[in-house]
């Protein structure tokens, strides 16, 4: 199965995914299962825990990518659940090198594809490069390699699978663990609320590299998720997706609630869905009212110790950040409109000048 550059094997006939530039649908509950490719590139029988959000995210991402992709993966849950020698869950070419260097691995693959294609040593068609790393492998130990890859402008898509701790090594805190969460290295205790710092804003850090595409995505909204991965892969240059990844084992939540918890994450404003396209922020889904935090935290015993006061404090910050994001999106939209108007005006003026100077 192959597809030519620029067209998607499975998308073109259905008009889906939507072409770049067209806003994503805001009704995220539409049922489009019949539009999602049936092919699976992520095999059953991998060793993820029940209800693993990360495994779902990867399955969807691979559907979005199709067969013409090379995947690099960091050390972490994903690598461990998919490739115990001599087995593999990967139906696409795949490589793991180490924990902190996935962006560099992907950079090397991209550089090789570029030069080998130029030199005629591999078939002349676009093969996409996709990297997966955990929040630890991205926000902490892998931040340098990621920053380097984004800054150098490699044509690749990097997906951070954020389960908000180092799960593979036993639920230790990461820079991406939310404030107040109890982990094995930020345990809640008489003298500690658990994680004492606020989540590192990875999507904003990625966007600050002025790359063409950044998005947050949540497998609880699979349609939106697939769209974004496709969009990222179709973007020329580096693209970054921050993917919410519910982890029943690390969050001590019920295994049948991962999708529900993911939805709550977005509906409470904890994990807003947005894109940053060429620096322009787009809020993909703005719930009529943000849900209170209680239900979200109640379902995750990692937050069990938090008092109502603690929750109120966290909620205030979540809302402040959400409002700031929303304002930013509105401003960017306004600016975009203004620029468009200006462009139209400039074109008109040019035309007028040409007509005036016509003999």
């Amino acid at each position: 199965m192959t597809h030519d550059e620029g067209t998607t094997r499975w998308g073109s006939a259905s008009g889906w995914p939507l072409p770049p530039g067209q806003p994503l649908p805001t009704n995220l509950n539409v049922y489009v299962a019949n539009l999602v490719p049936k092919e699976e590139y992520f095999a059953q029988g991998h060793r993820a825990c029940q209800g693993c959000g990360l495994a779902l995210a990867v399955r969807l991402a691979l559907k979005a990518a199709g067969p013409d992709v090379i995947v690099a993966t960091a050390t972490g849950c994903l690598e461990i659940i998919t490739t115990p020698l001599p087995y593999t869950a990967w139906g696409v070419p795949w490589i793991h090198v180490a924990f902190e260097n996935t962006a560099a691995t992907a950079s090397g693959i991209e550089a090789a594809l570029k030069v080998l294609r130029r030199k005629g040593r591999i078939p002349d068609r676009k093969v996409r490069v996709l990297a997966f790393a955990g929040d630890g492998g991205t926000a902490d130990i892998g931040l340098q390699a990621l920053s380097g890859a984004l800054e150098r402008g490699h044509d690749l898509t990097y997906i951070c699978l954020d389960n908000e701790a180092y799960m593979n090594t036993g639920v230790q805190r990461s820079g991406s663990t939310p404030f107040g969460a109890s982990t094995t290295t930020s345990p809640a205790g008489k003298k500690s609320i658990g994680q004492q710092t606020w989540k590192k804003p990875m999507p904003a850090i990625a966007a600050a590299h002025n790359i063409p595409y950044v998005a947050t995505a949540n497998p609880s909204y699979p349609y939106d998720f697939i769209q974004k991965v496709r969009r990222a892969l179709d973007t020329e240059g580096p693209a970054y997706i921050h993917a919410y990844s519910a982890c029943p084992t690390g969050w001590r939540s019920a295994t049948d609630l991962s999708i529900h918890i993911g939805r709550l994450a977005t509906e409470t404003g904890v994990f807003p869905l947005y894109e940053v396209i060429e620096g322009r922020h787009v809020l993909n889904y703005d719930p009529p009212t943000l849900q209170p935090l209680q239900e979200y935290t109640r379902l995750q015993p990692r937050f069990r110790h938090l008092t109502d006061d603690d929750l109120a404090r966290i909620e205030a910050r979540v809302r402040r950040e959400y409002d700031a994001l929303k304002r930013r999106a509105e401003l960017d939209a306004k600016e975009e409109k203004r620029l468009k108007r200006e462009a139209v005006r400039a074109r008109r003026a040019q035309r007028a000048q040409r007509t005036a100077s016509d003999p």
Binding site: I70, T83, G91, W94, I95, V97, T105, G108, I109, Q144
Partner: protein, 404 residues
């Protein structure tokens, strides 16, 4: 009799004689190997090599992707990713850069990716020093790469071709580190024989990896080892590295046939009838040859054994080369703190252990961080060895010339 300094220089067919810095000679060789991806991070004394390659790519003299990475860890990783995708790659580093990337260095060989690295040898911090010794390479001694040493600019140039030739052989598929002494070689301008591209093309076939990452033939690379299989993978890796030996020798033979310049795992200079043998690796061998000449003139029966191939360690060649001598004076350029002397001497001792009539091994740690080892120093060390009343124990060593 061979002399340390060649008197007349004949330019063999298919070559021209050019004066150039050894770093540029390395870069030129890399260019002639037509590498696809270069990824490196600047560190003294390796910088001139990367700079030259960047220039070649910028000028269109080399059609490659030059990836200006943000660290050596990423430099090695980019090479791994690119090599896995089927590209011929090059990186070079020194000292701190090497230990920063060392995690990936080990992974590269375990994945059997035939990357090539020039290591411009420099001491490890601390204290920080930019000058030459071998503490960097000794820190990754067991990394599973083939490791060779160059002694002068011509060897640097020639051994780059050898590195790619060997690494990519279907039965080898193992990365190669070429050790080049920082400053002593990297920053020296020498008169070199440069091979015509046609000679190189006859020697080095295009790179055709057995497996590579491509959707047309999906493979999984870098799966993790469960206890049930890990031991077997390590045994296979060790056997594979040992089995590279004949291919390494064959590739040198082929280069020698083409160019007239021959290389061997262990090389000797005026060893006939020698009571004392000096034992060196890298550029120090050049001074050692002059020292041997000088000492021979004084009537001292001294010779020289030089180790060119550090991994896989050429036990047999070494035993043969030192047979019959009374004393083997090993010059180490690194300290194994709290261990059995310098790393080279301890390997030499274990190679000779239990051999009948093996020479007594004397371990001298010299030339740390660019401390010069001149002819009078060799003389002093030889005289010290000859004056010793009792043989040193296996764990004895001297840090030569250190002030108290």
């Amino acid at each position: 009799m061979k002399s340390a300094i060649p008197k007349t220089v004949v330019v063999p067919p298919g070559h021209r004689r050019v004066g150039m810095e050894d770093s540029h000679a390395a870069a030129l060789a890399v260019r002639q190997c037509n590498v696809d991806v270069v990824a490196a991070y600047p560190i003294t004394p390796q910088t001139h090599i990367v700079e030259k390659l960047a220039e070649m790519v910028a000028n269109g003299e080399l059609d490659a992707e030059f990836v200006p990475v943000e660290s050596e860890h990423s430099a090695m990783t980019v090479c791994v990713g690119a090599e896995a995708a089927g590209a011929r790659t090059f990186t070079c580093t020194s000292s701190q850069g090497l230990i920063l990337m060392s995690e990936v260095v080990y992974i590269t060989s375990a994945m059997r990716l035939p990357c090539v690295m020039v290591l411009a040898n420099r001491s490890l911090s601390g204290p920080l020093s930019i000058w030459c010794d071998h503490s960097d390479v000794m820190s990754i001694r067991d990394c599973g790469w083939i490791q060779t040493f160059a002694e002068n600019g011509q060897e640097v140039y020639d051994l780059v071709f050898h590195a790619y030739r060997v690494a990519e052989m279907a039965d080898v598929q193992t990365p190669v580190i070429l050790n080049v002494d920082g400053f002593y070689l990297t920053h020296v301008v020498e008169s070199l024989l440069v091979a015509d591209q046609e000679v190189v093309d006859r020697y080095l076939p295009p790179y055709r990896p057995r497996h590579s990452l491509h959707p047309d033939r999906p493979v999984t690379m870098g799966a993790y080892g469960v206890p049930d299989l890990f031991t077997e993978t390590k045994k296979a890796q060790d056997e594979a590295l040992r089995a590279t030996y004949p291919h390494i020798v064959r590739a040198w033979q082929e280069w020698g046939d083409l160019t007239g310049r021959h290389y061997h795992p262990v090389e000797t200079y005026r060893t006939e009838g020698a009571r004392v043998l000096l034992f060196t690796m890298g550029s120090i061998g050049q001074t050692a040859m002059v020292a041997v000449d000088t000492l021979r003139e004084q009537g001292l029966p001294v010779g020289l054994v030089k180790l060119r191939l550090w991994r896989p360690f050429p036990h047999e060649d070494l035993r043969r080369a030192v047979a019959g001598a009374e004393h083997l004076l090993v010059l180490d350029r690194a300290v194994s703190f709290g261990g059995p002397g310098g790393p080279v001497a301890s390997e030499v001792r274990s190679a000779l252990y239990g051999q009948v009539d093996a020479p007594v091994v004397h371990d001298f740690i010299v030339g740390l961080a660019g401390r010069d080892v001149a002819v009078p120093d060799f003389e002093a060390m030889v005289r010290e060895v000859l004056a010793r009343k009792t043989a040193p124990r296996h764990e004895d060593y001297v840090i030569y010339g250190a002030r108290e």
